[in-house]
Symmetry: C2
Subunit: 430 residues, 2 copies
Amino acid sequence: MVQKAYRAQIFHLLDDPYLAGDAFEYFKDGLLVVEDGHVKAVGSYRKLGKTLRASTKISHYKNHLIMPGFIDTHIHFPQVDIIGSYGRQLMDWLKDYTFPAEAAFKDPKVCKETARFFIKELLRNGTTSALVFGSVHEGSAEALFAEAHNENMRLIAGKVLMDRGAPANILDGKDMGRAATKRLIKQWHGKDRLGYAITPRFAPTSTPEQLAMAGMLKAQYPDVHVHTHMCENKDEIKYVSELFPDAADYLDVYEKHGLVGDKTVLAHGVHLSASMCKRISASGAAISLCPTSNVFIGSGLFNLAQLRRHKVRHAFGTDIGGGTSFSLLTTMSAAYSVCQLRDLSLSSMDAFYMATLGGAKLLGMDTYVGNLEPGKEADFVVMDLKATPLIARRLKNIKRLKALMFAIMILGDDRMIAETFVMGTSVYKQ
Amino acid sequence: MVQKAYRAQIFHLLDDPYLAGDAFEYFKDGLLVVEDGHVKAVGSYRKLGKTLRASTKISHYKNHLIMPGFIDTHIHFPQVDIIGSYGRQLMDWLKDYTFPAEAAFKDPKVCKETARFFIKELLRNGTTSALVFGSVHEGSAEALFAEAHNENMRLIAGKVLMDRGAPANILDGKDMGRAATKRLIKQWHGKDRLGYAITPRFAPTSTPEQLAMAGMLKAQYPDVHVHTHMCENKDEIKYVSELFPDAADYLDVYEKHGLVGDKTVLAHGVHLSASMCKRISASGAAISLCPTSNVFIGSGLFNLAQLRRHKVRHAFGTDIGGGTSFSLLTTMSAAYSVCQLRDLSLSSMDAFYMATLGGAKLLGMDTYVGNLEPGKEADFVVMDLKATPLIARRLKNIKRLKALMFAIMILGDDRMIAETFVMGTSVYKQ
């Protein structure tokens, strides 16, 4: 069993700081000891340095900070090539950009090449786990799982289920996507670090029959996730109320079909009623907050205070391609602004929690990842505290950890990610 | 007279595209010819290449785009070291972060060192002209002018005028800042490419007497600018109405003291009444829109439709340190989101206009800079169209210029600035 050690500043969260107070550890001169892909120990270099085996090599990163890999709880792999498209809000965005882009994933070559780029881009941004939408094509999820498997990533994905409201060439056929979903679950769910999510895009693109089918699949495979969108945009919400006149509200559409439980991730939730919050909270489902997307496609400002009040679980998603950055740092910065515009100050500890351990909890992977506690899988990033002249100057003069982490989340981006490790293996180096 | 030539894609605006339609030029294989620091010619390489002197060396940038240098119409030089500070909205931001930071500029060494960094950072971000706030100290403006002069930049700045509402150590003395302002005007205004702006911070930190003094100075030196803040934040607006109970509104405070004219730049203007818009428009004054600041310190979403309706002149400012980025590209991206949240799509042409020629017009420097028309001073940037893997991939597949420029403004940041030229001299190279 090979032992490796990494010396740098080290930061991670042990619990939700919003509920548990200062639930973090920080070592100014820290050491992370990894054995067999797992964290063996984390602490101060002074204390842990002497416990190392004589043969252990220490990688020493000066002016760097080691922290857990980022976790992206909502992202679309087939939308890489529409990031930064102009002038649409949600329903037209889908029609004019998303659907044409996703149609290209009929071609296995496009799936493979894009999956490769996508996984590399996640790692380049320090994201070591994600919950990912494919396109409707079985091959899209297939290609993504294969690439994630190559990198040994802990990742959950699914092929989209759609059987109406989009061009015919990207709709599921007569069996409503059931067979493909079952094949993918059997092949990939639980394979090493991979997991499956049943993935109806959202209520407008599934018939009640397909939603019912999805609910039955979920009942059949209770340990897979459900991943969909909800209450992103006001026009969308209105449209859902017209499509499902018998439903009490948008959430009810999913509830009715057995799709809302503690493994359900609802992307966005920008516009939620108190009743929806209460029911989401009671079900154990979670909201993936996607601030760069919400402001870029003009969906609105999510209401963190409301989610907290109702104890609705939440974490961050980039929502590429509606979102504009793969970086969770950029996402945290955008979230801060969204909250400021609603007169709430999102602390650095809360934001880093949501982007790491909180994301892991939301995806049910906190037993394995999310922080650097001994026994966990060694997914971590090494951040360059001198990534730009401005960052170097600004961070140098900050003494308090919370202010330091705050400046990192506001000024940092993918440039700060000097190196990314998955299960103790370096998978990206700047 | 030395002739230099630069071959790359070339883009610039000739007029306001919102009013004048497609008022841009784009050369897929372009050539920019510079003589004696000025643009001699711009056009296609095929056509202009043959007109060069035999001795002229061509710098050929593949996968790069040349465009005019960016123009930042509102930025604070002494706030570099508070960028990304946590958890305050405007009035507390000033008290807790700005005022203590600015107090340090009593020390000429701080002034000089920070001015050096600040000017370098502007150039690193491709910003070749700016309208800049100093601190209350004469030495701050002094140091800034000296550094800008070293780089031969076209830049306007001023020492802040403040005589109340801040700690005593950063208030003007008995003469209310008159003597220092006059000295600075005499020494720097019109010196090569420099200009002066009379710079009362904003109504809450000047007594009516100081505002009257500022107005008299403006009357005495009619060709200097006036640079201040207005209607950034709702609490601020309320506070001004309490401080100036006799004023009809915030703008009236400045109008009464002769501070609103066609050389006045009012930063922010997030919350304006129709009456204020009409009067600003009639006066020829202008609004500097600072979206990264407005969302970061939670001031609100500016109303571009309203400004357009009333023909109020406007361009972009970064508002460092309330703003979070020196990059006008990042500022344009933030502006797009602010507009999307108000259901308006800001086109790439409009945004690039505001960040270049529009900014130059706003600062009264469009005779000299803002685009690459023959005769203008050769302030330009060379942008790397492969700055990141994502940018390279995304831009490669875009065929339409407007979509290309849009993706640049959404995905780009300081990394895209490969080289910056001031008066034909390379002043920054990545």
